[in-house]
Symmetry: C2
Subunit: 339 residues, 2 copies
DNA sequence: GTATCAACCGTGAGCGCTAACATTTCCTGG
DNA sequence: CCAGGAAATGTTAGCGCTCACGGTTGATAC
């Protein structure tokens, strides 16, 4: 009810005004060749005059080049996903693509139909930011249904299958966590505890592997929610235990929660306890003490994912990877255990 | 190239399989009445059987009920916008709407055509998260072009015009900042300094008004960027000045930057310096010391914005506002000035 | 038995655009 | 001066769906 004003101007209105056929107008708005310069100018004038804007629905319906991406993700307000989304958005809008987002609930399981039904149409291009079970599942469904029009970021067992580079922008969570854990071990800690985000994630695997490498039985994982508060609560017992000297956290937010809990428990950082995060969110450097963490270039990953998708869609030269590789950033929350 | 598999199944394929007309299928997928239960079941079976999924482009083209919203915002990775977007997404996807995002660059100015051209079609529903100049401008353009299909969150001069409640979910930045400044003044501070986010924003106005109320000439505003780092840098001089006893920050992130700068300058909080933020981001409560700030229910605002838009689109009962009103949260970074 | 009116279902048109092909125009060479 | 061909433009069909009708059935009323 009562949407726009009069009626939108269509390609025919422009054609009439410019004294050409609608097809010529179509050619102009698509920058197609085979249009005389004078005609082109006349059409452009008519477009400006009437305030014409092409209807995207009609365009995709008619089978023109697709100019939209659907992004599947969970919780756009987390640092990692927000940054990745931002990277995709940057690249996509620069290329004239529309970005649709579809937020998946990690608590829920989705059928093939649920996922595919969120696309604007069958075969619509999609990017999956896959860092947990639900989104990884979505990626699997989409790849099965339309391998030509989907790429993903993230990491899972199948990433190592041959040809994964064609559709995956790998941000190897496993290796990242492994490296961080090794670093802690190298500082002399007897073992490293792990505070986990909800859902089974690859970072936890990396942590366990690093311990296994040196023959340490991984201690029981402590489960946290997604928020800083839940981490503080979940870690309360852990930080109170004087036997615990090092904690690796699923991400920076959880690490901040642990730091807070440790502060309340009166434990000194890093003397009594080393804490390490993951992501290098902007806060990490400005927290006091500065958080040791792993720098992850989510925005670059998002950009690359879009470029990869576009390459699959439109061909052209292979886009070379353009994101910073993960790097351990040692700050002030980590060090050797006391004595 | 090489998008989907064979060819997508259309409404006609389903019709044929179920032995009905395409229109009956249309009725079923739109939950329209006037379809016999047995027929409905048969059609649903055919839909499941063939894996049919309606094409959204075709639907909107054909003039059916609109089922998408375009969200205009800037920088989806900032706390406030990310949360608002999340709220919109929650409500929208629950209502079966698709969410499109369109990120505007605050550095850029957009023409009417730029903004309107980002809609999927003329008159497409839109929500503007308007907390700065660029997005406020976008809101103005959209309201002029299609008043029936746009709502906004945020605050600006025109919010006070009669009937604004029909299209605005007000998060009164001005009043919020005013209240926070008054609180600081009430603690006995001679004046309050302001660290500003880029662009002219309403929070700054509120701060200035609170000072003016008690006859204080507002000190020069210190400009910061959007990041914590830029805030730390921008505030370096300010925090080093022993005459400065209270700083109000554009948002929590900037406050964290100030806190960091103050720490480096060796000033004690809140003894030497009171710092107050705005947003009550999750970190605020877990920072050490806890950040005094104003709780802003962005997610609730986002949800309400969507409900309001939906009301405009489809009629129905007036949605009553359902977000928490802003509230000052006093923690440990604020107090009376020393002596 | 026939008029009446629901309830149910089908037919045709058209949304705004692009693809594919048909047609016209204009310039070239011999 | 006209064949030949490229450049420029026009024509037709159809993407998948919904809207606005028109038709058909079957129960009820008289």
């Amino acid at each position: 009810m009562s949407a726009a004003g009069p009626k939108p101007v269509s390609i025919f209105d422009v054609a009439k005004q410019a004294g050409v056929s609608h097809q010529t107008v179509s050619r102009v708005i698509n920058d197609a060749p085979m249009v005389a310069d004078t005609t082109r100018a006349r059409v452009k004038a008519a477009i400006a005059d009437l305030g014409y804007r092409p209807n995207r629905s009609a365009r995709t319906l008619a089978g023109g080049a697709v100019r939209s991406v659907t992004v599947f993700t969970f919780d756009t307000s987390l640092y990692g996903t927000a940054e990745t989304l931002r990277g995709i958005e940057d690249a996509a809008s620069a290329a004239g693509f529309t970005v649709l987002i579809s937020v998946l609930d990690p608590e829920q399981t989705y059928t093939d139909g649920d996922i595919l039904g969120r696309l604007s149409h069958d075969g619509a291009p999609a990017i999956v930011i896959a860092h947990d079970e639900t989104t990884t599942q979505a990626r699997r469904i989409l790849r099965k249904a339309q391998p030509g029009a989907v790429v993903a970021t993230g990491d899972d067992q199948l990433s190592r299958e041959p040809g994964a580079a064609d559709w995956l922008v790998p941000l190897d969570d496993r290796v990242v966590a492994k490296r961080a854990t090794r670093y802690l071990l190298s500082m002399g800690h007897r073992t490293v505890h792990y505070l986990a985000m909800p859902g089974k994630a690859r970072r936890q695997d990396g942590w366990a592997e690093a311990l296994a490498e040196v023959g340490i039985e991984p201690p029981e994982v402590v489960q946290s929610g997604w928020t800083i508060g839940s981490a503080a609560e979940a870690a309360a017992e852990l930080v109170a235990d004087p036997g615990v000297t090092a904690i690796m956290c699923g991400n920076d937010d959880l690490a901040f929660g642990v730091l807070h809990a440790a502060h309340r428990a009166g434990r000194s950082i890093p003397g009594d306890l080393s804490v390490i995060g993951c992501d290098d969110s902007p806060m990490a450097a400005y927290h006091v003490p500065g958080l040791t963490t792993v720098d992850l270039d989510f925005r670059g990953v998002g950009r690359s994912a879009f470029e990869l998708l576009r390459h699959k869609l439109e061909g052209g030269p292979d886009p070379r990877p353009s994101w910073r590789s993960p790097e351990l950033v040692v700050r002030e929350t980590s060090g050797p255990p006391r004595q």
